[in-house]
């Protein structure tokens, strides 16, 4: 009698486990790429795995380019990127016989230009920013501030933010040789806090009360837009970039539940908590 009841219990447990697994979406995949996306995807995968037992999602950084290379040679299922796939990367995918690439925008990231709170200047045009970071504008009085040397801080060249800023604000020109390169975003904020003539750029999540975020104009000074989650969401703030996921059409059914979760309202809530800009309705 006792034996029988144990058997029944075990059977019940097994069947419960099986039906549970069917009801939940089990995803096993690898995500690789941009370091900017890394903290977001880690958080998303953690929550997803908690809600969907049996899922296993590995998230690895390395940079957007690394992610695309891994997608091309098949060592990852999903590539995360802080820039869209370049023409030559598409060509390489083509050569590797991987066509039908799916691109999904999962959130936005706004880059704020920050200065020391003691600085009089509160807005700059893109042309002025280009002048400052290419080393042509050297004093704050040239852009309407006090007579003070400009100290420009940038991220190291290995960072995707470095490339993005170079492409979109400097229009592909090289940074000046006198620009200080900092190893971490936190170090830029720290330096801007304690240096009067400082200017730097960081993700919007890093802006705190010890630094001042500048309004930026992309139409030669007609309108200046303040960086905020709202202006980034309605796309009026110009230094905003989408964050992408890329995967092959052949694995779509495998990774879709996870991608859908990120795009769902729960997933987008995490986007906002982590300091990124959600997609909006």
């Amino acid at each position: 009698m006792k034996k029988l009841s144990i058997m029944v219990m075990v059977m019940a447990l097994i069947s419960a486990a099986i039906t549970g697994a069917i009801a939940q979406k089990k995803v096993v995949c690898k995500v690789k790429g941009s370091d900017t996306c890394l903290p977001l995807l880690q958080k998303e995968s953690e929550t997803f795995m908690k809600n969907n037992a049996g899922s296993s999602i590995t998230v690895i950084g390395g940079g957007s380019g690394v992610g695309f290379a891994a997608l091309q040679n098949g060592t990852t299922d999903v590539a995360m990127a802080s820039r869209s796939m370049k023409m030559d990367e598409k060509m390489k995918m083509q050569d590797a016989g991987k066509n039908n690439i799916k691109e999904v925008i999962i959130s936005y990231d706004a880059i704020s230009v920050i200065v020391n709170p003691a600085n009089k200047v509160s807005q700059l045009t893109r042309e002025q920013l280009e002048g400052i970071f290419t080393g042509k504008i050297k004093n704050w009085k040239e852009v309407g501030g006090d007579d003070q040397t400009i100290v420009a801080y940038s991220r190291e060249s290995s960072s995707g933010t470095f490339e993005f800023f170079k492409e979109h604000v400097l229009k592909g020109k090289n940074y000046g040789t006198g620009i200080l390169l900092m190893p971490a975003t936190g170090a830029i904020v720290q330096s801007v806090t304690q240096t009067k003539g400082a200017i730097g750029y960081v993700g919007i999540a890093y802006v705190n009360k010890d630094v001042k975020a500048l309004k930026v104009s992309y139409d030669k000074g007609k309108t200046y837009i303040e960086p905020s989650v709202q202006t980034a969401m309605n796309k009026t703030y110009p230094i905003t970039r989408p964050l992408y996921l890329y995967y092959l059409g052949s694995v779509e059914s495998k990774v879709k539940p996870f991608v859908d979760y990120i795009l769902s309202s729960d997933g987008q809530k995490i986007v906002q908590q982590e300091g990124y800009v959600p997609l909006g309705k």
């Binding site: 390395g62 940079g63 380019g65 290379a69 370049k86 023409m87 030559d88 060509m91 083509q94 066509n99 003070q148 040397t149 400009i150 100290v151 190291e156 060249s157 290995s158 960072s159 592909g172 020109k173 090289n174 040789t177 006198g178 620009i179 200080l180 390169l181 900092m182 190893p183 170090a187 720290q190 330096s191 304690q194 240096t195 009067k196 003539g197 400082a198």
Partner: protein, 398 residues
Amino acid sequence: MRKKIRKYYEKFVEGILFTSSTITSLAVIFIIIFLFSEGIGLFTSSPVEKGSALYVNSNNPVKKLRSEQIKKIFNGEIMTWKEVGGTNDSIFLFSMDDISKYYTEADLGSEFENLPQKLNEMVVKHPNILMFFSEKYIPVNFKGTRLPIRNVTLTGFFGGKEWYPTTQPAAQFGILPLILGTIWVSLGAILIAFPLGIATAIYLAEVASPRLRFFLKPLIELLAGIPSVIFGFFGLIIVVPLIQKIFAIPVGETALAGSIILGIMALPTIITISEDAIKAVPRSMQEASMALGANQWQTIVRVVIPYAKSGITAATILGIGRAIGETMAVLMVTGNAAIMPHTMLQPVRTIPATIAAELGEASYGGLHFKALFALGIVLFLITLIVNTSVEFIRDKSK
């Protein structure tokens, strides 16, 4: 029987000792071979990324460009062909990514099969074009001419003043500012650490009471155990603003900040080794000096220090050897701008900081990767010279 076991035991221990030393030596040799084989490749490479090349219209009189000229053209500093020895026309830049501005993906075909033909159209249509493209897509009967580009040279590498390792299409590998930055920071560190370290060592060995010494010595040795990134943050938050205020300069991330942090980091090595050297001065020498009527200070200056000179020098050089290779702390406080340093109050970029900051993103086996390994060779040679000079000084004094 017992003798036999003992014999085998000795053989066994001997074998283990031999194997460990062989493994160590092999590891060192292997790493050095790896370093050199990756680094030397830089000088047989073109500064343009592999598989790509620059093309002009065949009628263009310009047949050659230097890598600095290419950089200036893509930077917008050179706008017309006249400035590089051609006609008065403006330069029309065209690279791989621009193709989508002129043709739709449908035009190019689903597998880019029409691309070569479109490239030919572009080059015929624009006589003032400068194309940067993958060699693979260049058609057989191409109407353009490929521009030859000189390889990276030794003089360009050591004498160049510009470090733009990731600039497309022509990277700039001039390491002079990096070498000078490294030497600058290390020299400053010696000037700070040497007097401080020697004074502390003499105090510990000759003056301090045994109880004080019991507390001080472990404390100083503890300094060596602090992770370098902590030193870096300490520098960024305390030393950098201090320098900025004292010298009233716009930026505190300077060579001096790096020197101070490295000086502090070199202290434990300098103090411990020179204290040992001072302690090794025979008691009889000091007693003889005292017996002749010299007081304690005279004995230290005239007898102890001259006797321990070689040990103290070795200590200093070893301390600096550590400072030269230090990465993380320097990365945080020197500002890392690759400019030619003129004073200690300017930002500098050192070789180890450059390697640490850039190696992560350099694609394996690529041009940038090789350049960083070549930098590694330079650093290796500098440390080799420093360490050999220690041996030399030690041998000479014996």
